[in-house]
Each structure stands twice: as structure tokens, then as C-alpha cells.
């Protein structure tokens, strides 16, 4: 069990970094509370894997420190850190049974056999692996193997944090639902700190209490799933979270009036853009736009409608700018023109990509 703190942490793969672009990870400060579930979310190359490797002791940071429960562990090697890790591809000990796999970390730490047995059975119960304890690990399915990997972390009483590196990559969609739910339950039961790296927003949002959105080596926003969805601090967060992502439209804003080309929208509050801002944009999620809901809506051109099964995505054009609109599965649009209205509570103003608080 551990609280993890990152202080002024940064990393560059170059020996003498001189400019910001040399850094794979730009200086950051963060605290991960004991027992929390955190997700590092971002596209490939955003630095999330570098950060995970630093926490797991595999990569030594170019600057800054890591503290586990207040103790500086920056220089410690992986085996001295009390962490466990679940990898993208299942790592199990082929020749051993499920039981032996789960017992392995304890055996290596010379835990008495009776204590090992009790602990292995407890963890097997948590993971629904009780009936498979006697099976050879080699013949198991990918999702079972990932559960064993997780189990090897959970058996250790001293484990401070479990790190997950895109663990559901090789799992079929149906199995993902079960595994995610199980992971969530295990987290609630075990009270262990979890750090979960992924590029998949659904995984990040459902598993974590706090999601850390990263882009280009920087943390763009830290927040609960709801905060990230409802108040993206940056247009990148709006784009990256949500499927389809937030619509971003170039606009002019004066007081509580936003002007998009010849159209005008009244905001629910007056907004003052910071002086010298080069680019003012409006952000609105597809979920908060309605087509043909109000007679005074802005006319838009309907390009096409995609059916995702659960809902439909209407691709429309406003002043030549593409917008996505989410419609219920039974909704119908007739004709090429629709009237668009927005939920003003969820309409945000961005200056040079950053949210303008109103």
C-alpha cells in the first residue's frame, strides 16, 4: 500500500536536452493517493508509457524524484520497489500451474508455505480462478492469463501499487466487459493503488477514479471522468475523450454573444477572452446538440447519418465546418437541412485551445 508522489519529474531520452521538444516527459508534479485508481490516457507518443516505466523503476528519470509513502525511491531498481505490473501481452510462467504461478512471488520472498496457501486461495477466489488452480498455465485463454498476472501482484501483502500497461489489448470485446468489471471489483476489495495506462478512453474512464490526460509529454488535465467529459480544460481533451469527440468551431465572442459566421448564439454567461488570444473557439459535445428540436435553431446541412446501433451520428455542416451530432437510435431526419440547437450549459469557450472560465 503506498501513496506515490512525483516531484518535478521529467525525462528525456537525449543525453543533453536543451529545448522542450527534447523531453519525452515534461516536468510534472503529481500525487497518487493510496488506494486510488488512476489512468494515464493519451495517444501513442504522449509519454504515458515513459511515465509508467519510470514508476516501475525500469527507466531512471533525467530529473526529479519519486516518493513512495514519503520515501525517495528514485534510485531503487524494480525489484526493490513494491510494485506489480500487468503487461500488454500476458506474461505467465508456462511450465507452472495456475497455483504455482500465483504462489511464485511469495515463494521467492520465503513466505511460509501455509501462509502462501491461504493467500493464493484468497486471491484465486477474488479472481474466480479457484477451479483452475491445478491447471497448467500454458493452455489457458488470454483473459485467464491476464487474471493470473494480476493475481501475482495481488498475492503480495506488501504490494504498494499495481501498474497496468494496456492490459486489455489482446482481449476480445465481450471478455473486456467482464474483465473490466472484475478489475473494478478487485480494486474495491483490495484497496491497492492502481495505475492504468491506455489509449482507450472507455477503459480509462470506467476503471479510474481520476484520469490523467497526456499529450506530447505533458499532463493536459487531471479529473474525474465526469469532469473530463463535461468541462474539458483543453480542446485536446474534448477531442480525445468522447466518441465522437467534442466539436470545436471557430467563433468570435463578445460578452455573452458568440458569432459563428453570420449566425449568433447567446451564451449562458458573459465570457472575457484573455487579451492577445489568437484563436477563439467554441466547444460543444455531440451529445449536447439537438437537431430539429427548436424552431429557431441554426440551419445546418446534413451530410450523412451513421448508425452505431446504440445511437446515430449525424454529420452536419455549419458554415463549411463539420459537426457531429448524436441522435437517439430511433430518431429520423428528413431532408438535407436541419435546425441545430445546443445545450448552453455545455457550450464552452476556448482561447488558444484552453478553456476560458466564465
Amino acid at each position: 500500500m503506498a501513496k506515490i508522489e512525483l516531484k518535478n519529474l521529467a525525462h528525456s531520452y537525449k543525453p543533453n536536452p536543451s529545448q522542450p521538444s527534447d523531453y519525452a516527459l515534461k516536468p510534472m508534479n503529481m500525487t497518487w493517493e493510496q488506494g486510488g485508481a488512476y489512468a494515464l490516457l493519451g495517444p501513442s507518443g504522449c509519454g504515458k508509457t515513459t511515465l509508467l516505466n519510470i514508476v516501475s523503476g525500469l527507466v531512471k528519470p533525467s530529473q526529479g524524484q519519486i516518493f513512495f509513502d514519503g520515501q525517495d525511491v528514485t534510485a531503487l531498481p524494480t525489484e526493490k520497489l513494491n510494485i506489480a505490473q500487468v503487461f500488454q501481452f500476458p506474461v505467465i510462467y508456462d511450465t507452472m500451474t495456475v497455483y504455482q504461478n500465483l504462489a511464485f512471488p511469495l515463494k521467492n520472498r520465503h513466505v511460509p508455505a501455509s501462509a502462501i496457501d491461504a493467500r493464493v486461495k484468497e486471491v484465486a477466489k477474488m479472481l474466480d480462478l479457484e477451479r483452475d488452480l491445478g491447471r497448467k498455465a500454458r493452455g489457458l485463454t488470454a483473459d485467464m492469463k491476464q487474471k493470473i498476472s494480476l493475481g501475482r501482484g495481488l498475492v503480495r501483502a506488501d504490494v504498494g501499487a499495481i501498474l497496468f500497461d494496456e492490459p486489455l489489448t489482446v482481449i476480445d470485446p465481450h471478455m473486456k466487459w467482464q474483465l473490466r468489471a472484475q478489475l473494478k471489483r478487485v480494486h474495491e476489495q483490495s484497496n491497492v493503488t492502481m495505475v492504468y495506462v491506455t489509449h482507450d478512453q472507455t477503459e480509462a474512464l470506467t476503471i479510474a477514479d481520476k484520469v490523467i490526460v497526456m499529450y506530447d509529454g505533458e499532463v493536459v488535465q487531471i479529473g474525474t471522468p465526469q469532469e473530463l467529459f463535461e468541462r474539458p480544460a483543453h480542446t485536446f481533451v474534448g477531442y480525445f475523450i468522447g466518441s465522437p469527440g467534442m466539436n470545436v468551431i471557430a467563433a468570435e465572442v463578445a460578452g455573452d454573444v458568440a458569432r459563428i459566421g453570420q449566425h449568433q448564439i447567446t451564451l449562458n454567461r458573459a465570457v472575457t477572452a484573455p487579451a492577445g488570444a489568437k484563436k477563439i473557439e467554441l466547444g460543444i459535445r455531440p451529445e449536447f446538440i439537438t437537431l430539429n428540436g427548436a424552431a429557431d435553431g441554426i440551419p445546418v446541412k446534413v451530410k450523412r447519418v451513421e448508425d452505431t446501433g446504440r445511437f446515430q451520428i449525424a454529420r452536419v455542416e455549419l458554415e463549411g465546418m463539420p459537426l457531429a451530432v448524436i441522435m437517439p437510435e430511433d430518431a429520423r431526419i428528413d431532408g438535407d437541412v436541419a435546425r441545430l440547437s445546443v445545450d448552453k450549459k455545455h457550450l464552452h469557450v476556448y482561447a488558444d485551445g484552453h478553456l476560458v472560465e466564465g
Binding site: S56, L58, P77, T78, E79, I83, A84, Q85, F87, Q88, F89, V91, Y93, D94, T95, M96, F104, P105, N108, R109, R138, G139, L140, T141, A142, K145, S149, R152, G153
Partner: protein
């Protein structure tokens, strides 16, 4: 379902058929022919049926005794070199650098012995191990150890075993190295996290992953050591006495030294069958390992 059939295609196989016929089937048939006959020279042959085979497989006869002695030496030689080369090769493979400028250098050094022709290897060691002018033999003798491979059977054995180890350990080392390189880093990292000792990492990760590659290595080394001829012939010529006379050397003595074509032919056929049987055994074991893996893959 109408697969195009053109019988002229058979002509394409003709060159292969001819080559195989001339270099394998015809000589083999000659040997089979010799093995059921006896000759006293003058190119006169007498029918002997399975007489040679009976004598050969009966350890109480001269021929049989000699055959089983040589076979025993062969088995001993193969067992010793496998027992040394496989663990040593794996150990070397484990020690070879995984990255950096050392990789290319190590690979070249390791490949060197494999590139030396057999008879040159024999000659090198014949000179190197001589107690009078050979560096190795001279040093060992000056350390007070009695070592002379032309007089002492033990010295002779040590020499040919050391020579084979020098020549072929690289092969196992390179195979293991390739096998080890294919293990993803995540496995090592997981083992570190699980607190596994270096030995546990070897037993639980490296050895299981090396299983297939080592089977191939053992097969190659077994067959090759069982058929070895040139190097020990150059170094010891089968001596001192008969102490290093293995089957291949014995066979040459019998056929070309004594011109006992019949018994030599019978011996070579039995020798051949033993190697074939060993190959079949290895093949079966290896395909079973594969089938095991395939079954795993389908389940996974």
C-alpha cells in the same frame, strides 16, 4: 475441381532422380550387395546370406565384440560431448552481450570455430596438444601432469573431447543466444517484480523458452558426434591401441585396411540404421513438442 494435369512435368523431376540414384541408391545397393556376400579377393564373391549380420550382432564373436566396443565408444563420446557442450553452450549464450558494440564482435568470435574445416581442426589440435612442440601439451606436462595423447588412452580421450567442445560449443551457444533474444523483455521485468532469483529466472523463463531450440541443438550435435570421423582420425587415428576407435574409424579400418568388404558392409548398414532410428526418435519427440504447442495455441 479440375486440377490441371500435365505429365510432362515429370521430366522436371528427372535430374533429381538421376543425381539421387547415382550418389545414394546405387552405392547403397552396392553396400547391401556386399553385406550378404563374402570375398577372398580376385573379385570373387560367395553368398553368405545374413551371416555377417548374425556375427556382427553377436558380441561373443570377434566381429561382434569389436562392433559393440566401437559402438560403446561412440555412445560414450556422444554422451560426454552432449553433457559438456549443451550446458556450456547455454551458459555462453547467457553471457553473450544482448546489445552494444560487443554483439557483432562476439558473434564473429563464436562463429569462427564453426568455419574451420574438419581436417584442419584435427591438425590444429594434433599439433597444439603435442607434448613436445604443442603449446597446450607442453604447458600441461610442465605443470607436472602426465599428458600424452599418443600413449595414454585417457589423454587421447581428453584431447578429442576437448577438441569437439572447442569446435562445436559455439553452435549450441549461438542457438541459445538466438532463443534467448526472442524472449520479450516483459518476462524478465515480471520476474524481477515477482522477486525471482537469477536461477529462478533461468529455470522458469529461459529454459522453458529454450526447449525447442535446444532440442534441435541436441539433435544436430548427437548426429554429428555419432558420425564423427575426420577430427579424431587426424589426431589419434583411433589409438592408442583401440581406445579411441569409434565406429566410423573402425569401419574404415575394416573396409579399407583389411578389405573385409562383407563384414564392413554389414556394419555400415547397421550403423546407418542406428542413426536413422535415433533421428526418428528425435523427430517424434520434436513433433510432439510442437503438437503440444499447437494445442496450446488453439486453446489460447
Amino acid at each position: 475441381m479440375d486440377k490441371p494435369i500435365d505429365n510432362r512435368a515429370w521430366f522436371l523431376a528427372l535430374p533429381v532422380v538421376l543425381i539421387v540414384a547415382f550418389n545414394a541408391i546405387v552405392p547403397l545397393m552396392t553396400v547391401v550387395n556386399y553385406s550378404v556376400q563374402d570375398t577372398f579377393g580376385n573379385n570373387e564373391f560367395f553368398w553368405n546370406g545374413i551371416g555377417w549380420f548374425q556375427e556382427l550382432l553377436d558380441p561373443t564373436t570377434d566381429l561382434g565384440g569389436r562392433f559393440f566396443d566401437s559402438l560403446g565408444r561412440n555412445a560414450l563420446f556422444s554422451a560426454i560431448i552432449l553433457a559438456i557442450e549443451v550446458p556450456l553452450g547455454v551458459l555462453v549464450g547467457l553471457c553473450m552481450p544482448k546489445k552494444g558494440p560487443g554483439v557483432a564482435f562476439t558473434l564473429v568470435v563464436m562463429a569462427l570455430p564453426l568455419l574451420v574445416p574438419w581436417n584442419v581442426v584435427g591438425t590444429i589440435w594434433q599439433i597444439f596438444a603435442r607434448e613436445d612442440i604443442g603449446l597446450l601439451g607442453w604447458i600441461v606436462n610442465h605443470l607436472g601432469i602426465d599428458y600424452n595423447y599418443t600413449l595414454g588412452p585417457l589423454s587421447a580421450w581428453i584431447t578429442i573431447v576437448t577438441m569437439d567442445v572447442w569446435h562445436w560449443t559455439s553452435l549450441i551457444a549461438l542457438l541459445s543466444y538466438a532463443g534467448l533474444r526472442s524472449i520479450p523483455d516483459a518476462y524478465y521485468q515480471a520476474a524481477k517484480i515477482d522477486g525471482a532469483s537469477r536461477f529462478a529466472v533461468f529455470m522458469t523463463i529461459e529454459l522453458p523458452k529454450l526447449r525447442r531450440v535446444l532440442l534441435i541443438g541436441v539433435l544436430l550435435r548427437f548426429m554429428d558426434s555419432f558420425m564423427i570421423y575426420t577430427e579424431p582420425f587426424v589426431v589419434t587415428g583411433g589409438g592408442p591401441g583401440n581406445s579411441t576407435t569409434i565406429l566410423s574409424i573402425d569401419l574404415v579400418k575394416l573396409a579399407l585396411g583389411q578389405f573385409d568388404l562383407g563384414s564392413a558392409a554389414a556394419m555400415s548398414i547397421v550403423y546407418n540404421l542406428i542413426i536413422l532410428a535415433a533421428c526418428w526418435l528425435f523427430y517424434t519427440v520434436m513433433t510432439n513438442v510442437d503438437a503440444d504447442r499447437d494445442a496450446t495455441r488453439v486453446e489460447a
